[in-house]
Symmetry: C5
Subunit: 325 residues, 5 copies
């Protein structure tokens, strides 16, 4: 698969030509057109070519080559460099796979660079091309469209983790203290932290796209970034709520384990007493003294048996009543 | 039930006409009148009509169609778009039902869009119409009136949850460690989090309505939003206090369980000792050695019995004194 | 008792006349005089009268009628509306009673409105009148004087709670785990939260009185509000410190309970072993085998007794040494 | 000892005269000179005299008379009023004694007012006089010199508390759960809170001395306050680190107590089983049935003894292996 | 080894001469050249010389002489003084060694001062000299190069600590409560705190280098500091995540210990019951009553044996089923 997924020129919201990378320069000189190019794990040569065509900064190209960046937005002169982290739930699986997408956006171009396992942005492009009255707004609308698609991927993930929380709650309140449950709580916490780290910088990124004192971002595209901003805030809130509840679940679980321990202790103490009494009494009548009058008494044995049984029954009732058994 | 609950034109604080949606345009051109329209879960067609009449933004209409938004305020040109979450206690029940209301407010119109289980705002409208000297202030006063009604719904909820906290406190301090109580503490925490998420964005919303550098909001209506701001702050504070106390209750409960565990252990240890002594002594005189002088002694048995009883009494007193029994 | 406690006109720091409420208007027109009126739980009629005389805002009057406000400061045109919460320790009691005082302060008037159990401000007025060179600064000095009196009431309360903390510390470190202590820790935490809620808004209120870009507050009275600001900060800090220590006390208490539990377990285990050994050995010589040579040995019994005693002494020493007993 | 420790006029960095308090006025009129006066717990008369000579504000004088202020900086016209808390380790002791020093600093005077146990600032003055090229910078350099001396006193205290933390860590990790250790952790936490309360306002105070939009503080003395600012930040960081570690130590201690409890339980359970087996078996052969064939068997006794011993050895090995003993 | 590691003049990105310290002055007068000098633990005399040549501030020189500073940035006139903390993992060891590097950077000079165990910056210098088109940007590019090298040292450290966290997680979830593990968790927390203290001030330092309203830092070098800023943010985030997970690991460990304790208690209670039953029954038939009919019954012994065995088997199954064994 080529690293150049898609490279086209747009005018007035319509795709007017598919381009080769080295034809881009010509288009860029025409202010009424813009270029949208999608790369997938490009090699250094291709990035160097793109750098030359679009006039990108050394440091940004260096960053675009390395994955495992923190989500961020930077401006180099008139070009924005944006890094986002993508996340996807594998169909039918619990596993989350993270990826990364970088953007170079200028006054009449947008370059998307995908790293790691990310879904293709062809669908987004197709959707954009079907609404030329919107795509006409230029490369920042294209940026919005891709960012929106990326952020939308987080909602099903958050929902899945929310359901997992509910399962864990049910496990905990069912009252069986369980190593498995605790391990899962920890794993869930870990995943939430990772997602938070991917999403929370988005708030600042959108904020700057909404308000940045730059003349490159058209006024009319700014409300769109507010839309993503809202989404990012909501995801963040859901993560924070889930984390806080998770912490509470752990505490509650801990309290329930303690109560369980308490019950075990009481139960054990109760039964130990019930078993200890016959042992003690029988021990006394097992002594070998010559003169133990009761031993020669005809009804000694049944009376002692009854006494023992009575004491046991009494203790049993007593403990039952006070909630120890 | 029609989705258009009420649609009327107002002049100088008085209702001057009930309107059809497609008559709105005419009124909007007259700057001395304003339109107040209430919708309930409108379909796309109706929203599209409203969009056209009032000149609303695509993104806002899209939001207004979807429920499950985060409370927020946004400005699109001269129009404010506001999302609030409503909450209600079901009469005689413990259940809280959440809903959502969206507002479009412009210089001479206000549109309210209800989603989910919300009470009707007809009463609010009636109340407003009975004070024309206030309603004369325009659509932002109407906005205040509805927002105030929504926020007022939170107070009985908070109070109910506060009473629940007191019940839980009583449960905990009564000293019986209880799974039920712990589960309820968790549930209460969860509800508080949800309410907090609904109320806390209100502070920022009111702040912006109080101070926004917009000329659309008349100076004289601004103190009213400060009133709601105060309410939102108070609800927030009450939630935070309740949450903090809830956390303390859980900790305290945990300490009390530990103390209880401690008491069980001590009690058990005490009684085990009291039962262990006769068993041990009786065991010794149960040995079958031929030459155990005491066995042949006439008073061996009673003396041993007295010794055993004495030891038990001594232990009992000792444990009682040191607080183990 | 009349709801109008005191109503007087002041000029140059001296009381020049006692007024009736409906005479106020005349005084207010003279810029070299000011009016100081004290109300106690006024009814609606009186408030309406005051509203008319001083030209107060509807919303402020509405607030002034209701108690249970959050402490706050608001400006309505040239008038400040301030709400404070008062607190008092009942003489010789541990109970704190909360009240509320509202202020309306304008360029030449101050109205104080007391709600709930608050001490009378007559003493403050008398003290002010005894320093005319200060009272000459106008109604904001009177405001300062009353606020200072209110804030000063918090210091003995905080001190009492601090002493209570010390008592609780002593209880905890004395090492007897105690339900009572834990309940008291919780109650103290609750009270601190309530006081914090009453005091912490004061910081913001004073801040605004110190810096507000208003020309009504004379420059020379501003340092006085900084004085109250300092007091509020100090009370806040003391509350926060006490709360943090309280949390630590609870944790420490919990650790001490665990240690205690540990000690109980060790002690019990130790004595169980010491009692278990004679029982086991005696059991063996209590078996009824025909051929147990030791049983017929003359010194069997004493030797076994010595062996048992020796083992018990050895175990006792061993456990004592390793800290189990 | 007189309350006036030292009172001198300086010109060009050199002491030119020792003054009486009532001679100060003359010097203050000469802009090329400045006055440095040191007071120790002055009475009201002396403060009144100083107030008159230097033209100080009533509220500042009132504050200067009372100790137990919060560290703060205030400006009254052209005069700065600064409150600092001092702390000292008693030579060879663990005890920290706190004191307070107040400063009045104007364009050509500095007054230091000591309260409580503070070391004398004579040494600081001597050191300043030995570097006239620095002291020439005026009263704010003198202020810096004294503040620096005060802040330097905190470093050995922090270091001592850090060493104490290490001792507590060692105690905890040695694994003996200990009431003493826990009490000391709490005491250390308490002391850290108190020091933090004394030091943290310093950051704000220095910040204002570094940046204050006042023309009184000469530009060239400002870097000196940045130096103290750095020290205050460092002390604060050290306190925060120590507190955080202390919290961890408490948690870790708690975990270790639980592990210890676990071990005790296992050990006890193991030995109880090892002792319980012979007791149970011996009990069976201690029954008085007439027809127990084994009892008449010649090797019954040794075989049972061997069986009991074997079981005990087996259990011992089993528990040893699974880590219970 | 001399304290002057390297001292050279650069023009247009190329090294044009190696200098002696007292020749520096001549170069500094030529605005098209800059001096880069590297010192290693210089003595006071050398620092005094440098101070004179470069015109540095007293306080900065004093700081440069002392190690154990907090990372910071300060400006004295046209000179920046920067303190960084360095950290290195010893090859093949777990030990982290910290050091310190100070920088003086002016319009045409940079001085690096190393303290403690830091790697030499000769490699950095060589790398810079191999890219004259970058080094041409002047001393702030040299500053960037060295700072980058320092920050890059933190990544392998963080990774090592991350791996350690994973090892600890595995230890904890394997379920054997372990003093060793807990001690290691604490040590890891301690190290993370120390690294955080070294790295977190970097964020502020880079921020000021990126945005500082100074004309000395050339615009074109500013993006480089943003690069380091990003690194510092990432390291900080990784530390915070690791710390949060570490806290969770400790909590989880604690829960697992409690569960383990619970299991021990249940197991013990179960086996105690199973052993207690034969002891009690055998005790009864060990009584010496004359008239116990069962004793004379031929099948008494086998029947009792079967009964005892049956009860034990029943209890075993019961406990097994309810999860106690």
């Amino acid at each position: 698969m080529s690293a150049v997924i898609n490279c086209a020129a747009y005018a007035d919201g319509h795709r007017i030509a598919n381009l080769k990378v080295n034809d881009i320069g010509k288009i860029l000189q025409q202010t009424d057109k813009f270029v949208w190019i999608g790369l997938n794990e490009p090699d250094e040569a291709l990035l160097a070519e793109a750098q030359q065509e679009f006039g990108l900064h050394d440091l940004a190209i260096e960053d675009a080559h390395r994955a495992h960046q923190r989500p961020k937005i930077e401006t180099y002169g008139d070009t924005f460099f944006i890094v986002l982290r993508t996340a996807q739930l594998q169909e039918g699986q619990r596993e989350i796979t993270f990826g990364e997408t970088h953007f170079f956006v200028g006054v009449n171009f947008i370059v998307t660079v995908r790293h790691g396992s990310t879904f293709s942005y062809s669908d987004v492009r197709t959707r954009c091309e079907s609404t030329p009255h919107l795509l006409r707004k230029g490369p920042f609308f294209a940026l919005y469209a891709v960012m929106d698609a990326i952020v939308d991927q987080y909602f099903p993930i958050i929902q899945t983790l929310g359901e997992e929380l509910e399962k864990l709650e049910a496990d905990v309140f069912s009252g069986k203290p369980n190593r498995e449950t605790i391990t899962q709580i920890y794993q869930l916490k870990r995943e939430l932290l990772e997602i938070k780290r991917a999403v929370s910088p988005l708030i600042d990124i959108c904020n700057r796209l909404m308000r940045f004192d730059s003349t490159i971002i058209p006024e009319e595209t700014r409300p769109y970034f507010r839309d993503i901003y809202d989404h990012a805030i909501r995801i963040n809130e859901m993560i924070d709520t889930t984390r806080e509840l998770l912490t509470s679940v752990l505490e509650v679980n801990f309290s329930l384990i303690s109560i369980s321990q308490n019950e075990v202790s009481k139960k054990f103490a109760g039964w130990a007493a019930i078993l200890g009494v016959p042992t003690a009494i029988a021990g006394i009548y097992g002594m070998n003294f010559e003169f133990i009058p009761e031993l020669n008494w005809r009804f000694g044995y049944p009376v002692v048996l009854v006494f023992i049984a009575g004491t046991c029954v009494f203790l049993y009732r007593h403990f039952k009543q006070s909630g120890w058994l």
